[in-house]
């Protein structure tokens, strides 16, 4: 199931999304990821100030049955984390592209954004998976 794929986001093959906001980038997981995971019950977030690397793990998302790694779409520094997820991780299920955002980054190289998939390419990936 493809789920909802907003046009204004960039995507990774591990089903994270990235949204550019000025010199920052907000990161979350896609509706497809959420549907595959089921009910999210726990998110292990990085600390503000942590350095993340594109394609490398930055956190963990757990559903009722499975533990999955979260991979950073970009390299950079974590400037905000969505602390509200500690009390209500199911926000990721109900609003994966909005209130269910996970971290906000200050990318070290904004050009990396261009290397991510656009909505159409991500849609193709889901269709072929």
């Amino acid at each position: 199931m493809a789920g909802n794929i907003p046009q204004n986001l960039k995507y990774t093959k591990e089903h994270e999304w990235a949204r550019s906001e000025g010199n920052r980038v907000v990161v979350g997981v896609t509706q497809h990821a959420v549907e595959a995971l089921g009910d999210v019950v726990f998110v292990e977030l990085p600390k503000v100030g942590a350095t993340v690397t594109s394609g490398k793990q930055f956190g963990v998302i757990e559903s009722t049955k499975a533990v999955s790694e979260l991979y950073s779409p970009l390299s950079g520094k974590v400037v905000k984390v969505n602390d509200a997820l500690s009390n209500d991780p199911q926000t990721i299920n109900s609003d994966p592209y909005g209130a269910g955002w996970i971290i906000e980054l200050e990318p070290s190289d904004t050009k990396e954004l261009a290397s991510l998939m656009d909505a159409s390419a991500y849609g193709d990936l889901l269709k072929n998976s």
Binding site: D39, V41, F42, E44, E62, T64, K65, V67, Q90
Partner: protein, 361 residues
């Protein structure tokens, strides 16, 4: 290719997310594990448990033969009564955990885990002294109807007087016109029934329960909710919490082992010795007091040393806490004892609590 229950098509029509479960194509969830879990706690849920195995002993001597194989005592049961029991190996470990139904002294039905059915049947054939077991698994489909509204729902669909069928009792009769064994048993901690019927009737019964149960808020439920519901009750799951190398006493299931029953049972002597000497490890329930979720296989640490292992764990949807079950040395088994669970290399603090985790009013 996974095996399919008679309800496979029905699960697909309902949007069930199908997974391979011990060789069976089963729904893990339809919409949401948490929503299905809550439907069972607050209203009523249906589970397809047709993959379970049924092994029958019938004819003169059936009771005596079956009773020697299981740890509990069917000779103390009335006809129409069922017991939870173990099949143990010579070391007191579990071959399986089962429910044994006494229809009469000449007909006993033992319901076994799907994953163990062939092993159990071979074991019973090898150890039965007297009546030979018959594998009747293909003759039964099974639907569990569980939740506070389950009894009312099933009662509306059967002329049988279910007020006379108390916990761990069963009767036979039509439900929605389908001939069933109607058993007041389950694996969720809620009241309800397990209905056994002919495979060809299962879909009719399932659809009728869904339709009649609409007014009760019935939901079809998958294996995900079944697991979180049973974990909140600390009901053992074979392969996780009980297995062939932990004894029934270590698992806290001494209450299903009647050491003094006439004829005894396989593994009895090991348990009697262990009971006299005390066990070295115990299966306990714990809550995490740090952040994370305990999962099957995670190490249990005390002062940095590995002393045990988590056998089951989840974020309990009703208790709203990360809860787990695991084996620990006896000195750490008392309520209030503390230890760490290693989660992705990090020790997370935990405390032993009284079980079941879910306290019912």
């Amino acid at each position: 290719m996974s095996r399919r229950t008679p309800l496979n098509e029905a699960h697909r029509r309902l949007g069930g997310r199908m997974v391979d479960f011990v060789g069976w194509d089963m729904p893990v969830q339809y919409t949401s594990v948490i929503a299905e879990h809550e439907a069972v706690r607050n209203a009523v849920g249906l589970f397809d448990v047709s993959h379970m195995g049924e092994i029958e002993f019938s004819g003169p001597g059936a009771l005596e033969t079956a009773n020697k194989l299981i740890t509990n005592d069917l000779s103390k049961c009335a006809d129409g009564q069922a017991v939870y029991a173990g099949l143990l190996n010579e070391q007191g470990g579990f071959v399986d955990d089962v429910v044994a139904y006494r229809f009469s002294a000449e007909r006993i039905l033992i319901v076994v885990n799907a994953s163990n059915k062939d092993k159990d049947f071979a074991w019973m054939k090898a150890h039965a002294q007297g009546v030979k077991p018959v594998d009747r698994s293909d003759d039964y489909a099974q639907i569990a109807v569980q939740g506070p509204k389950a009894v009312g729902l099933v009662q509306r669909m059967t002329p049988a007087d279910l007020s006379k069928v108390s916990t761990y009792r069963f009767t036979e009769g039509p439900v929605a016109g389908v001939q069933c064994i109607i058993s007041r048993t389950g694996y969720t901690g809620e009241d309800g029934f397990e209905l056994y019927c002919a495979p060809g009737d299962a879909e009719k019964l399932w659809e009728a329960l869904l339709e009649e149960g609409q007014q009760d808020g019935v939901k079809p439920c998958g294996l995900g909710a079944r697991d979180s519901l049973r974990t909140e009750m600390k009901y053992a799951l074979y392969g996780n919490d009980i297995d062939d190398h932990h004894t029934a006493l270590e698992a806290g299931l001494g209450w299903i082992c009647k050491l003094d029953k006439a004829g005894g049972f396989i593994g009895r002597d090991v348990l009697a010795k262990q009971k006299a000497e005390g066990v070295k490890r115990k299966l306990v329930g714990f809550e995490l007091t740090g952040s994370g979720i305990p999962r099957h296989g995670y190490p249990i640490l005390k002062d940095g040393q590995r002393v045990g292992e988590v056998t089951s764990g989840t974020m309990g949807p009703s208790v709203k806490k990360p809860i787990g079950i695991g084996y620990v040395p006896t000195e750490l088994a008392a309520e209030g004892s503390t230890f760490d669970v290693e989660i992705r290399g990090r020790p997370v603090s935990a405390v032993v609590v009284k079980t079941p985790f879910l306290k019912k009013s």
